[in-house]
Amino acid sequence: MEHLIPIGLNHYLTISAFLFGFGLFAVMTRKNAIVILMGVELILNAANINFLAFSKYNGGMGGVMFSLFIIVIAAAEAAIALAIVINIFKIFKSVDVSSIDTMKE
């Protein structure tokens, strides 16, 4: 198994970048507000992976603490965002973000 490259920081970062890219793609292209929220969750988790990876290879506990906070904040954010989505649905009878453009008026 010597010819196999050992799992290193770059692998983590690559996974994280892909995850961030998928998340960003979902945020930019999906029309469903819930899916966009899911994209946001993916971006947050990509950041978490980064933090944890840097924490492991840097040796400090700062990254772990950061990711714990992010998980907590993500849970809060998801609750708030879902509440907003429900309110949007109540007003616009839809969760399609492309039809919600009253902001430009």
Binding site: V27, M28, T29, V97, I100, D101, K104
Partner: protein, 751 residues
């Protein structure tokens, strides 16, 4: 104020009153108010006669002079000149008194005569009003003591003459004649005004007395040529009014006016005003100016006499005769025969007025026939007119025992004396022309008398198609009378003739029929001492000294001829009395002396000339030894030259009138093309400028504004696209910005 001055003001204003009453109220008065005119002129004459009596008969002083004046316009203290005033005033001396009586008498007689002559005219009342204003203006000239008021009344005379000449203004010829008279007079008046201004510029006064005092004191700052010019320019006024040579053309045409008007204005008063004016300014005329005046007078006398020979209209003969006699007067003033010229002015006024009124009577009796060729044989029908007309004719021709003889002789003697003193051959031309004109005068007046009064009536010879009614517009008479019946005129037309004819006899003026100098007139009117001369810029006292040897030489010679009151002595006495005009001009004394010596030669020559003229007239027209028509054929060019009045009208037509027309056409062209062109050019440029300005506004200023709006709009439109209101778009933009930042950052990092 002297009582005579007060009376003279009354005399001056009475005719004006007549004018005012008649011009406004003649239609409301019985007889159209002619009695107002006659009555007022009668009282004016009565007062004038009283003035004449007081001045001439009672005072009998050659140096008599009273004056009064008042400030008319006070211009205050003018910067650089000092106090400036225009004063008006009245002066009465012997000349004024005589003129006053003469003008009012002739005006009264003309008023009286007109009640017969103008009876039935539709503008009868207005006619008398015009006579009133004319008399007023003429009296104003006579009484004025300064150049300014003379000029005012001068123009008033011009106006009233204009009104009277064109009295029958429905006739084209009368309307033309009045315009011609007015315009020709204006030419002379402009010169006169310039002359007045030259004197005013020097002395800042219009008063004769002050101007002469200043001149005598040698205060004329400019050269003597200017003084000569001033004199000649003032003389231009006389040339216009007195119908002297270049401007004589208006007078014959002025015969379009009613005949009494011709008698009043164009024989006795208005044309005499010019001569009177020259007499008033006589003392400031330099010898050079006097030479010009003498030659103009002589030439006028001769030229008009030659024209008068061939004229057929009875009034035109008299008109040219008037021009000729006025030439005599001007000649007399020019040669220095001052009193003789004024004497002739007065005698001529009476006998020429008589002739004109007589011709008016003939025209009236002949039902407005004026052509002498169709008259004849009136002697029996009109004995009164015949007698008075003949007497006046004798006076005009200058036969002994008449007034005209004395005055004409005095002028011609003066001309001979002048020629002797000047000593030049060319100066003998003046008396020669004078004598020759005397012969011509006798000739044409003999012709006129014969054609009008003698022989058989030639009325029936008149070609019928040539007949036109009414030289004077009141043609009412023509319908009721047979043209062959000719009656003597009524008393109110006869009386003036008799009075005027009586005033043409010698004893009115002088006890000696051969010598006018013995009469009261020549004794009362003395040649005033000149205030200019070769030495007038010297001090007065040295002048007296310089003059005294000459005076000493002249005095015994004058005394030897028994004329102790010669003008020179009178001038000397005057000078010592006044202390200002402190010299008698030696030249004047010498001329007076020579003229006195030439008295009898002048009598002989002029009598011979008159007799030759009358005999010639007799030979040609009475005995028909020389047939006038054949003679006229034989010397046809000369005959035509005379008949067509030396072609002066044609010459003026070709030069001045055509010239004016061409000039006015040129000016019109200049106006339409250059002046209008400039105006239009400016307008064009302004339009173009406005257009350019408009374009600038429209494209540049508006362009800026619109471009700003447009760019804001465009920017807004572009930026608006970015703001979709969709969250995802913003996310994309955020991403792009971040991406852009990374590109920027790494680019900088790389290079």
């Amino acid at each position: 104020m002297h009582s005579l001055i007060q009376l003279s003001i009354v005399v001056l204003l009475l005719p004006l009153l007549s004018f005012v009453i008649l011009i406004f109220f003649n239609r409301r008065l019985p007889r159209r108010g002619d009695f107002v005119g006659v009555g007022i002129l009668g009282s004016a004459f009565a007062i004038s006669a009283y003035i004449f009596w007081s001045v001439i008969v009672q005072t009998y002083d050659p140096a008599f002079r009273i004056a009064w004046d008042f400030t008319w316009i006070d211009l205050g203290n003018v910067h650089g000149i000092g106090p400036l005033q225009v004063r008006m005033g009245i002066v009465i001396d012997n000349l004024t008194a005589i003129m006053l009586a003469m003008v009012t008498l002739i005006s009264l007689l003309v008023h009286l005569y007109s009640t017969g002559y103008m009876a039935g005219d539709k503008n009868y009342g207005r006619y008398f009003a015009f006579l009133g204003i004319f008399t007023f203006s003429m009296l104003g000239i006579v009484l004025s003591d300064n150049l300014f008021s003379i000029y005012i009344f001068w123009e008033l005379v011009g106006l009233s003459s204009y009104l009277l000449i064109g009295f029958f203004f429905e006739k084209q010829s009368a309307a033309d004649a009045q315009k011609k008279a007015f315009l020709v007079n204006r030419v002379g008046d402009i010169g006169m005004w310039l002359g007045i201004l030259i004197l005013y510029s020097q002395f800042h006064t219009f008063s004769f007395e002050q101007i002469y005092a200043n001149l005598a004191a040698g205060k004329f700052a400019m050269s003597n040529a200017w003084l000569t010019a001033a004199g000649l320019l003032l003389f231009m006024g006389c040339v216009g009014k007195s119908a002297q040579f270049p401007l004589h053309i208006w007078l014959p045409d002025a015969m379009e006016g009613p005949t009494p008007v011709s008698a009043l204005i164009h024989a006795a008063t208005m044309v005499a005003a010019g001569v009177y004016f020259v007499a008033r300014i006589f003392v400031l005329l330099t010898p050079d100016a006097l030479h010009v005046i003498a030659f103009i007078g002589a030439f006028t006398a001769f030229m008009a006499a030659t024209i008068a020979i061939t004229q057929n209209d009875i009034k035109r003969v008299l008109a040219y005769s008037t021009v000729s006699q006025l030439g005599y007067m001007v000649l007399g003033l020019g040669v220095g025969a001052y009193s003789a010229a004024l004497f002739h002015l007065v005698t001529h006024a009476f006998f020429k007025a008589c002739l004109f009124l007589g011709s008016g009577a003939i025209i009236h009796a002949m039902h407005h026939e004026q052509d002498m060729r169709w008259m004849g044989g009136l002697r029996k029908n009109m004995p009164w007119t015949f007698a008075t007309f003949t007497l006046a004719t004798l006076a005009l021709a200058g036969l002994p025992l008449t007034s005209g003889f004395m005055s004409k002789d005095a002028i011609l003697a003066g001309a001979i004396g002048f020629a002797q003193v000047e000593g030049g051959g060319v100066f003998y031309l003046i008396p020669a022309l004078g004598f020759f004109s005397a012969m011509l005068t006798a000739f044409y007046m003999g012709r006129q008398i014969w054609l009008v009064f003698f022989g058989e009536s030639r009325t029936h010879l008149k070609p019928v198609d040539n007949h036109h009614h009414g030289h004077d517009a009141h043609g009412a008479h023509d319908d009721h009378h047979d043209a062959h019946e000719v009656h003597e005129v009524s008393w109110n037309m006869r009386a003036p003739l008799v009075i005027l004819a009586a005033l043409s006899i010698f004893f009115v003026y002088s006890p000696n029929p051969l010598d006018g100098a013995e009469g009261w007139f020549m004794k009362m009117i003395k040649t005033p001492a000149t205030v200019v001369g070769p030495a007038n810029h010297n001090c007065a006292t040295t002048l007296v000294k310089a003059a005294s040897p000459l005076m000493a030489e002249a005095l015994p010679a004058v005394a030897a001829h028994g004329a102790t009151d010669s003008p020179a002595v009178a001038g000397g006495e005057h000078a010592t009395a006044k202390g200002e005009h402190a010299f008698a001009d030696p030249r004047q004394a010498e001329i007076a002396h020579a003229a006195h010596a030439a008295h009898f030669p002048a009598i002989y020559i002029s009598s011979i000339m008159v007799l030759v003229g009358i005999s010639l007239a007799g030979v040609v027209f009475v005995f028909k030894i020389i047939d006038p028509d054949k003679t006229a054929q034989a010397i046809r060019p000369l005959y035509l030259f005379s008949l067509n009045k030396w072609y002066w009208d044609e010459i003026y037509e070709a030069t001045f009138i055509k010239g004016s027309v061409v000039l006015s056409k040129m000016l019109s062209w200049f106006d339409t093309n250059v002046i209008d062109g400039m105006v239009n050019g400016v307008a064009f440029l302004v339009r173009k400028l406005a257009f350019a300005n408009n374009s600038f506004d429209k494209y540049v200023v508006d362009g800026f504004v619109n471009f700003t709006a447009f760019s804001v709009n465009t920017t807004g439109a572009v930026l608006r696209k970015l703001q979709t209101g969709k969250v995802q778009t913003y996310v994309v933009m955020l991403l792009l910005v971040v991406f852009g930042y990374f590109v920027f950052y790494f680019t900088r990092l790389l290079y």
